[in-house]
Amino acid sequence: MTFSTSEMQNHGINVGGSERLASLLGGGLLTIYGLTRGSFGGMAMAALGGGLLYRGATGHCATYGKLGLNTAQGEGDLRNIRMRESVTVLRPRDELFVFWRDLENLPLFMSHLESVRQMDDKRSVWTAHSPGGLAPMIWEAEIVDEAPGERIAWRSLPGSDIENEGEVRFVEAPDGEGTEVHVTIEYHPSRGITGAAAKWINPLLSQMVREDVRRFKSLMETGEVPTVEGQPRGH
């Protein structure tokens, strides 16, 4: 169920897998934020976001085409994207561990995920949201390490187009009442993001992870994720 590089290159794809994901996520955020602002700046943001969504979903970037760039192949300017976030959650360590370890719970607070399906105790299939009914991005991952109540580490399987890994650590907070949750998510450089693109995509991805962690905290502390989506507003 994973994209293979050869498949992608046969379809005019010149944007690498990690960068496609980044484009999808960043584009989605920008579009939503831009559209809800309604101002001229907001529309510009939405337009830029739409462009990113397109290149993320199709894997083709017109600008890269014109510039003769192709981050889907070749060595390019490789780099890791690593994001770290920490939050204190007022719930017991074991409870948080058990909830996270059931990976199928992740889409409840990771907004870019549509679903995670556990194949067996270690392996799972992850599906990201795909805007506009375009082909979904799917990859497989496995748990590579875990210590009950303390740590879970996962990694996409070799050959996945979106190579990524993550780790979450649960540490008892100083007052003994809550739990510090330390999350690290890393996207890998196999067909990585070029320096310039990385500079402005990184903050968007970091913010996304930050919001995921915040939603996790709310969900665990209050039993729900706060929202205003679906409430009335004027014209």
Partner: protein, 393 residues
């Protein structure tokens, strides 16, 4: 349903919008029986609070009847008559557990905006910009209330809407402002601004043991209200020098506590007032801190300056050295309404006071644009506007 929408600076309109729905298990929907325009709504009206968008439904002071509850709400049922606190609080987080409900960590779905501005996210507030969560407000026929198992307080039959409504914001806000002054019996408390929050701060200071309460404003009918309903002496800052007058009234010491019940849109005179006005108009500073400056200057050494008036951002030319070298205590913040509601409801039930004395204008919801205008211009003796959606009888 009908709702009051913010459509730009000095532009509010009553529009027909979809009815609110239950979105989360701990939500309720309340059919609004009475709602009010708050002085802090005027900051939105004047365009000084960031992250407002055209079409946002206003209003954070409201009460009404529960018409729907989410699956997890067990303490409320359809038909209950409730007042809803303006800050939205989960009841579970570090802050809520300490009783600091207006600092709730979980109630703002757009936490990143205030986190960027202030370093940490603010709690959600009904109808008070996307920085405070973008929640639809209660100047409407119906409103969705999140964490309904924590916020709303049931109102007994024998109290009418006008006696109960102000538990949602301004009564606890005035009360907290006085409470945080740590008033000792006989203390002198000066209150800048005899608007709704100032009136209730004076009332609270009296009830909490202040020996003298001094109200400062320039509008005669508000000063009269402070004298007749809140047991205050009053000073008109258009006629006299406040610093001199306060010194004279306190044997040169200055008030033990000074309350800034004005906030970011103070009307200052003199060169500094014009300086603020110019910077404010050019959006070079978000706030005009005239009253804050005066309160710091006037307060006795070792006293407390308590700030219920709303500030939004950067202030200029505040004499922090005076605050430091006089060893002042500064207290401020959005009100922990949930903490005070039941105590204050008890005081109203026992007849200690009736907060409805504040109301000068009773309008329908459809008259909201006029309500905002006369409240802002302080026309027609306007102190407090309440509005009743016409569908409620």
């Amino acid at each position: 349903m009908k709702a009051v929408c913010w459509n730009g600076i000095h532009e509010v309109a009553v529009e027909t919008v979809p009815d609110p729905q239950i979105l989360n298990p701990r939500d309720a929907v309340v059919k609004v029986s009475l709602t009010a325009i708050c002085g802090s709504d005027l900051h939105l009206y004047d365009g000084y609070i960031p992250a407002m968008r055209k079409g946002d439904i206003l209003g954070h002071e409201f009460m009404g009847e529960v018409v729907a509850v989410g699956a997890s709400v067990e303490n409320l049922k359809e038909g209950d008559r409730v007042v809803v606190p303006f800050p939205i609080a989960c009841g579970n987080c570090f802050y809520c557990r300490k009783g600091e409900f207006s600092l709730c960590d979980n109630s703002n779905p757009k936490a990143w905006i205030s986190e960027k501005m202030y370093g940490h996210p603010c709690a959600g507030i009904f109808g008070y910009s996307h920085m405070m969560g973008g929640y639809a407000g209660g100047q409407a026929e119906y409103v969705r209330v999140p964490y309904a198992d924590v916020g709303p307080i049931k109102i007994p039959e024998h109290l009418n809407d006008e006696q109960s409504l102000f538990l949602s914001d301004i009564l606890p806000t005035g009360w907290q402002a006085a409470d945080e002054c740590g008033i000792k019996v006989g203390d002198v408390v000066a209150v800048w601004g005899c608007g709704p929050v100032g009136q209730f701060a004076m009332l609270a200071a009296r009830h909490l043991g202040a020996g003298r309460v001094i109200g400062i404003d320039y509008i005669p009918e508000r000063l009269e209200m402070a004298r007749s309903h809140c047991g205050a002496e009053t000073l008109n800052h258009a006629q006299i020098d406040i610093q001199e007058a306060l010194k004279e009234m306190t044997g040169g010491r200055g008030p033990d506590a000074c309350i800034d019940a004005v906030g970011m849109e103070a009307h200052g005179g003199g060169p500094l007032g014009w300086y603020d006005k110019a910077k404010h108009l050019g959006r070079l500073q978000t706030d005009r801190p005239t009253v804050l400056r005066e309160a710091i200057q006037a307060c006795r050494k070792g006293g407390t300056v308590s700030i219920p008036g709303v500030y939004g951002g950067v202030v200029d030319k505040v004499n922090f050295g005076a605050a430091f070298n006089k060893g002042l205590t500064l207290k401020m913040g959005q009100t922990h309404v949930h903490r005070y509601m039941s105590e204050l409801l008890g005081r109203i039930e026992r007849g200690e006071f009736d907060p409805s004395f504040l109301i000068t204008h009773r309008l329908t919801l459809e008259e909201a644009p006029q309500g905002y205008r006369i409240f802002r211009e302080k026309e027609d003796g306007c102190v407090k506007v309440v509005m009743r959606p016409q569908t409620v009888h």
